[in-house]
């Protein structure tokens, strides 16, 4: 493996929270007696990430992805275990460490709300001690890549969500960090803006060789950016490896997406493959990987095919299958819902 940028060994992060049921009685009772509950946000995960890698953290809500990211960024102190980012212990928050990293959170902002983003950029230039010529060069580059234009001179509060996120990214990259922690950077953005942000992040990684760790609920983000995924579920590591391999392992079957010129009997469809979905616009069939060629031939021969696409099962489906398998392996009873 190349130079290890991130090393996580047996990381645990447990919180104590006080739970109480709703209602006035419970509110009054909680004044005198609180019931502490230990939440195992992360419960003993280990992995390593090489310099320049792009890795996606996947998992359902509350799985421990963001907690892991915050530990890596030095915001949270681990309950136990060992974490290193380029040799630094993150929670010590040494200047040399903080100057190497950035954390972009889709739901939090560093831009000064009532001032134009250019003021945040100037502030970051001073704090990160970026020399003026380098700052001008970086800003020119970021302005071009992110198409910032005149946005940087408008008060942040007047910008749209997408415009703000572009400026957030620019503010986070002024010091040219070597490690990017991205926590749902495209949340709430429209499809075209998501694509702009994704393309920019990928270009930054390719141009600078920065290491990139991403969490996102948009599988398109992960599929476009991360050849490797680390899947965390209920604080435990469910999978660590190539995204393609995960798809092959969990859902080895392929999907034939057909657009038909006219109505067809269900029996004719089932002769090609298992019907996953059908409506007026088209049909989705599932076939074994080694039967794709014969299924395509049969479809073309027996069905009024207007258009045909062969693809993997959607990543969302792969993930929910993986979580179900992991929980079954741990002997957990699945919620019927």
């Amino acid at each position: 493996m190349a130079h290890t940028m991130v090393s996580v060994q047996a990381l645990r992060k447990h919180y104590t929270v006080h739970k109480r049921p709703p209602g006035l009685r419970a509110a009054l009772a909680s004044l005198f007696r609180r019931v502490p509950t230990v939440v195992k946000a992360v419960d003993g995960i280990s992995f390593e990430i090489a310099r320049g890698e792009r890795v996606g953290f996947l998992g359902p809500n509350g799985a421990g992805k963001t907690t892991t990211l915050k530990v890596l960024a030095g915001l949270l102190h681990p309950s136990s275990g060992e974490v290193r980012v380029d040799g630094h212990v993150p929670q010590r928050r040494e200047d040399a460490f903080l100057k190497k990293i950035t954390l972009v959170m889709g739901q939090k902002q560093q831009l000064l709300w009532d001032l134009p983003p250019s003021e945040t950029f100037a502030l970051n230039r001073a704090i990160y001690e970026v020399p003026e010529p380098e700052f001008r060069r970086t800003m020119a580059e970021l302005t071009e890549l992110l198409e910032l234009g005149d946005l940087v001179n408008k008060p942040t509060r007047t910008l749209s969500l997408g415009e703000r996120m572009k400026c957030e990214l620019a503010a986070s990259l002024i010091h040219r960090p070597q490690v990017l922690f991205l926590d749902e950077p495209t949340i709430g953005l429209d499809v075209s803006m998501q694509a702009v942000i994704r393309d920019f992040i990928k270009a930054y990684n390719e141009r600078t060789g920065a290491t990139l760790i991403l969490t996102s609920h948009y599988m398109d983000d992960v599929a476009a950016l991360c050849p490797r995924v680390v899947v965390i579920d209920r604080g435990l590591l469910s999978y660590d490896g190539a995204l393609d391999e995960l798809v092959r392992r969990i859902r080895p079957e392929k999907r034939l997406v057909l657009r038909l010129d006219g109505p067809v009997d269900r029996a004719a469809l089932e002769a090609v493959g298992r019907v996953v979905y059908t409506d007026a616009a088209g049909v989705v069939l599932q076939v074994a990987q080694d039967a794709v060629n014969s299924a395509v031939s049969r479809a073309l021969a027996t069905l009024p095919v207007h258009d045909l696409i062969v693809e993997n099962a959607p990543l969302e489906e792969v993930m929910s299958e993986l979580f179900a398998q992991s929980r079954a392996a741990r002997g957990e009873v699945e919620d019927a819902a």
Binding site: Y15, T66, K70, A73, G74, L75, L76, H77, Q91, R93, D95, L98, K99, I101, T102, L103, M105, G106, Q107, K108, Q109, Q110, L112, D114, L115, E119, A122, L123, N124, R125, A126, I127, Y128, E129, P155, D183, E184
Partner: protein, 267 residues
């Protein structure tokens, strides 16, 4: 961030902090107006002293004392307890922790950046005080003026550090705004903000003299209006800076321990 790097970044931090203050100018004005309690106390105590002095205070003494109180209050204000408590509760403290500048430095600069605007209000009041009460109460010894400037800095530091310490307690309690309200109530009574410390009965005065509140505002005001001699001024300055040292150590300790509890909620 090293001290040298921090000092190099300070002009930009101040400039941006000031720009933020200007952006909030309407709120700032309302806030300044909310600190006009000394002017109300001035009217009240002047009326009390109408027929006979109260202690050593005649009407002109009260005018001088409370106008000086108003000015010192403008120059020693801090509100980091509310900022910290809010940022801990919402998790936005995370954004400060990610930057290579100590969050306390950035809070301090943001609070100090308000002073130029507050000066705009304080200066006319200072001129008014001179016109109304004359310059006879002001110290003539240059050393006392140096001590006054140091006492202003010490007063601001105690106010800032008390705020910072109480704000940091939010890392344990979730919110520490109510605790700050308690501190403020004690400050109002015991700092000389509403009642000159000299007017308290001797027993209470003795207690006040070992508490930090007087050093936040009463001490600098007394330096301007009471005619303290060098010895008394230096003794009080020493007392004030002992409190600055104690608060610094205390805040440092609870900040370090508290950060281990930071949950970085949200996001």
């Amino acid at each position: 961030m090293s001290l040298r790097s921090t000092v190099r970044a300070l002009p930009t931090l101040f400039r941006v902090g000031f720009a933020e203050m200007v952006a909030y100018r309407a709120e700032m004005l309302v806030w300044v107006l909310a600190t006009t309690m000394p002017l109300i106390m001035l009217a009240l105590w002047s009326e009390v002293a109408h027929d006979a002095p109260v202690g050593r205070f005649n009407q002109a003494d009260f005018v001088a004392y409370f106008l000086a109180t108003f000015i010192v209050r403008q120059l020693t204000g801090a509100w980091v307890a509310w900022q910290l408590s809010f940022e801990v509760r919402t998790g936005t403290l995370a954004m400060r922790l990610l930057r290579p500048v100590h969050p306390m430095v950035s809070y301090a600069v943001e609070n100090l950046a308000a002073i130029p605007l507050r000066m705009v209000l304080a200066l006319p009041v200072a001129v008014l005080a001179l016109v109304l009460t004359g310059a006879s109460r002001l110290p003539r010894d240059p050393l006392l003026w140096v001590i006054f400037l140091l006492s202003l800095l010490g007063g601001w530091l105690i106010t800032f550090l008390a705020n910072a310490g109480i704000g940091t307690l939010a890392l344990w309690t979730g919110s520490s705004v109510k605790l700050m309200d308690v501190w403020l109530a004690l400050y109002m009574v015991f700092s000389g903000y509403l009642i000159p410390v000299e007017l308290f009965p001797p027993l209470i005065r003795g207690t006040i003299e070992v508490l930090p509140f007087r050093y936040q505002i009463g001490f600098p005001v007394e330096l301007l209006t009471r005619g303290l001699d060098r010895g008394a001024a230096l003794r009080l300055l020493l007392g004030q800076w002992i409190w600055v040292g104690l608060f610094t150590l205390g805040v440092r300790a609870i900040w370090r321990r508290g950060l281990q509890r930071f949950a970085a909620y949200g996001g």
